[in-house]
């Protein structure tokens, strides 16, 4: 699978040759060669190598469309006849498919190619360095690495290619029970010294967890949400929050911004920032994404994400959104608070390193609940005093990122989505930390 670009182009050309007059074939390739290594208690738990390739083939004839996603071998000899047979099967079934009034796909010829190469370490090096670094500690973590290939082709002359190589190691150093420091190291080139530096920082934080943990009573607390915590909140807002379909079917969690003019703080500007994200610049029907789409502008709801299907349904031009109309490169603009001054600005309150398991307790009100997790601390006089026992929050996004938002940090973090459901994700969030006047804890 090392010459995947050539493979993609040859298969695309082969699919071109299969289309009969009046037919359009659009196709998408998704392939990866991944190494996955799990660690627990500073030892290896599971190590897996995965090589996989899948094509999604859509046969379109007039107003009818039929899609099939199939795994393939990833080589021309096997895949050309297999995909040829698949196109034949789709053709045989197409007549029985209902007309699709919302069918829309890219019809203008276009080409693009993006490649981010990397110098990835051998798994043996990673295992060596992690086990040495974790010696005497309780380290649990997950390493994923390797190339990801995405391609889009259509018989109308569209070819888009996106190849990314990367590694991502996320790990926790545990003090006891649920008290841990979570750290990550991701990029294109594994540098032993950089890894050691992050381990050193994690070990320093681990020492803070040795203090007697503090139990908080339910109530409202001044709080600082670190970028990893804010990423979770933004993830919930992205779940059916920004799409046109969710707006028009009144199911958006941000329905009050749409229908009642509710606003977030003027400090909040949220963008789908494809230009600075990791995700590909094209989507499943071949439309190229604009570099940026403003979703919330200085607190006011702005443009929705519009998939091709919604575009047809609601008569609004698509902006290259995926079928679920969820952001893939979400970007919350930074503020003016220097990160180094965050604890000082917090004064007395809680530092929330991570949030966990968020859900809506009232979707129409964008009221969210979730738990604090990992390194979260009680802070007094701008200094960390004690780790917190986990607490549940329950509050609306309009208060958290609205009236109660005091400041955002100037510095921001790119938080890559570490999900590997079926295949490795290329979604990311870029966000600052947030200083809140109040954050409501309930249990």
């Amino acid at each position: 699978m090392s010459d995947m670009r050539d493979y993609f182009e040859e298969i695309a050309a082969h699919l071109d040759s299969l289309a009969r007059p009046g037919e359009v074939i659009i196709s998408a390739l998704s392939a990866e060669e991944s190494d996955f290594i799990r660690f627990n208690r500073s030892a290896v738990r599971q190590a897996t190598a995965v090589r996989q390739a899948a094509w999604t083939i859509s046969l379109i004839g007039g107003p009818k469309r039929l899609d099939a996603r199939v795994n393939v071998a990833g080589n021309l000899a096997a895949d050309k006849p297999a995909l040829g047979a698949l196109v034949g099967e789709l053709r045989d079934s197409l007549d029985g498919v209902p007309d699709d009034p919302f069918l829309l796909y890219e019809t203008q010829p276009a080409r693009s190619a993006a490649r981010r190469a990397a110098r990835l370490p051998e798994p043996a090096q990673v295992i060596d360095e992690v086990l040495v670094a974790g010696r005497g500690l309780d380290l649990v973590g997950f390493y994923a690495s390797g190339p990801i290939w995405k391609g889009f082709a259509s018989t109308l002359g569209v070819r888009h290619w996106h190849a990314v190589e990367s590694f991502n190691f996320g790990w926790c150093l545990y003090h006891d029970r649920d008290k841990a420091v979570k750290t990550s190291y991701a990029g294109a080139e594994w540098e032993s010294r950089a890894f050691e530096g992050r381990m050193r920082f994690a070990r320093e934080q681990l020492a803070l967890l040795g203090e007697r943990p503090r139990d908080l009573a339910p109530g409202a607390y001044r709080a600082f949400l670190a970028p990893a915590a804010l990423t979770e909140l933004l993830g919930m807002m992205s779940w059916a929050g920004f799409g046109l379909k969710s707006r028009n079917t009144k199911q958006s969690a941000l329905i009050r911004m749409i229908e009642q003019g509710e606003r977030l703080s003027p400090l909040v500007t949220i963008t789908e920032n494809t230009r600075e994200g990791i995700a590909s610049g094209f989507q499943a029907e071949g439309f190229v994404r604009p570099p940026q789409v403003a979703l919330v502008d200085s607190g006011a709801l702005s443009a929705p994400l519009v998939s091709p299907r919604s575009s047809r349904e609601y008569g609004v031009p698509t902006n290259g959104a995926n079928a679920g109309e969820t952001p893939e490169s979400l970007d919350l603009g930074g503020g003016s608070l220097a990160e180094a001054r965050a604890l000082e600005a917090l004064g007395t309150g809680i530092y929330v390193g991570n949030l966990w398991y968020l859900n809506f307790s009232d979707r129409s009100a964008c009221r969210l609940t979730g738990m604090t997790r990992f390194a979260s601390f009680w802070v007094e006089g701008g200094r960390i005093r004690a780790p917190l026992n986990v607490m549940r929050f329950d509050d609306t996004a309009y208060r958290i990122l609205g009236a109660n938002l005091e400041a955002l940090t100037r510095e921001r973090e790119l938080v890559p989505d570490t999900d590997t459901y079926g295949e490795r994700s290329t979604v990311s969030v870029r966000t600052p930390g947030a200083l809140l006047r109040e954050f409501t804890l309930t249990l």
């Binding site: 738990r45 699709d100 590997t420």
Partner: protein
């Protein structure tokens, strides 16, 4: 095809302590009709194989979608390389695990094959029911869908193990959303996240009650739109099976997973408030609580003959009369922990290594009829159909919400309420179990979407339960 795959595998298998091949081919079809418009069918064939190698105490997995001899050989090489790399540096000596060498076949019971209706006929069925949702201009969105999957699986060990399993899954769903004055309410038939999911054929549509469900969900959404918020306070709750499934899943299932207890999941899914020393003596719930792990119930969503490490399935009690007996842990976890578990090492697909997963995790029926359960509550709320779930990483502090609630006063059903939510702590919540419904209140549910593991895995899980009453629960409603 499977016989030739077995031959190819065995001819390639290296001289190691243990080697196995797991093949999975899942073919699925998803049909949906939204707002009376049929959406294009989505077909998928997810096919590939994973090789497991255990050698000199190390363990490695290699997965590939290339099922040629060369592809299998490459997967085997990578699995072997990982076994070699991890030998002596793993959480345990994997060579000490007695890996099963199973033989046999399993097949879901199917009365009406999914192919007995054409795609056109399935669309007509969905279109007809979706159209029934259009009863009021406040119904702003509605959808009917049907997801069918056939899964062929084989598990071969180099030294003779040979298991073939064939599963058939049917997952129907219906939903309607009503909107007025800045508020939306959605009512579904058995859950927004496919709570009605079973093994079998199209006879499942009858059990689901597809006919007439369109109008029912639309009326339900309008009913919620007009309803007051659920009041807050401490009161009894009566949870119907389509919420009990979530309660079981989150606050019994996940905390009892042995790999969580052993710490494997602490970087992602979390740990557990349950510790190894609790088994055999810990009071998990009131004496009314009886929980079984039962992959042998034929129609339930996560039934099988053998798990993905080849351990034979059987029904076993995890909690009996409220006392914790055994965890959810398969062959490898049992060896690590030195404790008996169940056959539940499972992978979501060919490209993921198996881990401890709940399969069918059920609360056994008790002795109270629904009328008796209601009559026993002086002040409380009946809740149905999960819509929201959140729990801490030790699976202890939880907050769950339902689509629909109905107040109970003086032992009688009263008004419908919207946005019913409740909070609790797993370690104490089950001890407040004060009534367990009989078989007439029992329903077989499940979810296609249980997430866990690194790399991430979403797997099928079944939960069957009677209606259950809990006393003195912290209840609250939606935002003002």
């Amino acid at each position: 095809m499977l016989d030739s795959l077995r031959r190819e595998f065995r001819s390639l298998a290296p001289a190691v302590d243990f080697c196995a091949l797991r093949f999975v081919e899942e073919s699925s079809e998803y049909l949906a009709v939204r707002q009376d418009v049929p959406e294009p069918p989505r077909l998928q064939v997810n096919r590939g194989a994973m090789v497991t190698v255990i050698d000199k105490g190390g363990l490695g997995y290699g997965a590939t979608s290339d099922l040629s001899r060369a592809g299998l050989a490459q997967a085997m090489d990578r699995a072997r390389a990982y076994a070699s790399l991890t030998a002596g540096r793993s959480v345990m000596d994997y060579g000490a695990v007695e890996m099963p060498r199973p033989h046999g076949e399993y097949r879901s019971p199917v009365a009406r094959d999914a192919a007995s209706l054409s795609r056109k006929e399935k669309y007509e069925l969905l279109t007809s029911e979706a159209a029934q949702c259009r009863i009021d201009e406040r119904i702003v969105d509605w959808e009917a869908n049907l997801w069918t999957t056939a899964s062929k699986q084989a598990y071969f060990t180099a030294d003779g193990g040979d298991v073939r399993q064939e599963f058939h899954f049917v997952v129907p769903n219906l939903s309607a959303t009503a909107y007025a004055k800045g508020e939306s309410q959605t009512r579904t038939h058995a859950g927004r996240y496919n709570g009605f999911c079973r093994q079998g054929g199209l006879e499942i549509l009858d059990a689901f009650g597809l006919t007439g469900a369109g109008r029912t969900v639309a009326e339900g959404a309008l009913e919620l739109l007009a309803a007051p918020n659920c009041p807050g306070g401490t009161m009894d709750v009566l949870l119907l099976p389509d919420q009990m499934m979530l309660q079981i899943h989150e606050s019994i299932g996940h905390p009892l997973e042995l790999d969580r207890i052993l710490g494997d999941e602490r970087n992602f899914a979390g740990t557990s408030f349950v510790t190894l020393d609790m088994f055999g003596k810990y009071r998990y719930g009131s004496e009314l609580l009886n929980v079984t792990h039962d992959p042998t119930r034929p129609e339930q969503y996560a039934s099988y003959g053998w798990d993905d490490d080849g351990l034979a399935a059987q029904k076993l009690f995890l909690i009996r009369d409220g006392i914790l007996e055994r965890p959810l842990g398969g062959a490898i976890s049992q060896k690590r922990a030195g404790i008996a578990g169940v056959a539940n090492t499972r992978a979501c697909a060919w490209n993921r290594a198996p881990i401890d997963r709940m399969a069918n995790l059920n609360v056994e029926p008790g002795g109270s009829s629904m009328d008796e359960l209601i009559a026993s509550i002086d002040h409380g709320v009946m809740m149905s159909t999960n819509v929201s779930w959140s729990i801490d990483d030790s699976r202890n502090k939880f907050q769950f919400g339902c689509e629909w609630g109905r107040m109970i006063r003086g032992g009688k059903l009263a008004e419908v309420v919207k946005n019913p939510n409740y909070r609790g702590i797993s370690a104490t919540f089950w001890r407040s179990l004060s009534g367990v419904g009989d078989a007439s209140t029992f329903q077989v549910m499940g979810t296609p979407f249980c997430g866990k593991g690194e790399p991430s895995q979403v797997i099928r899980v079944g939960h069957a339960s009677p209606a259950c009453r809990f006393s003195n629960v912290d209840v609250f409603g939606g935002a003002a």
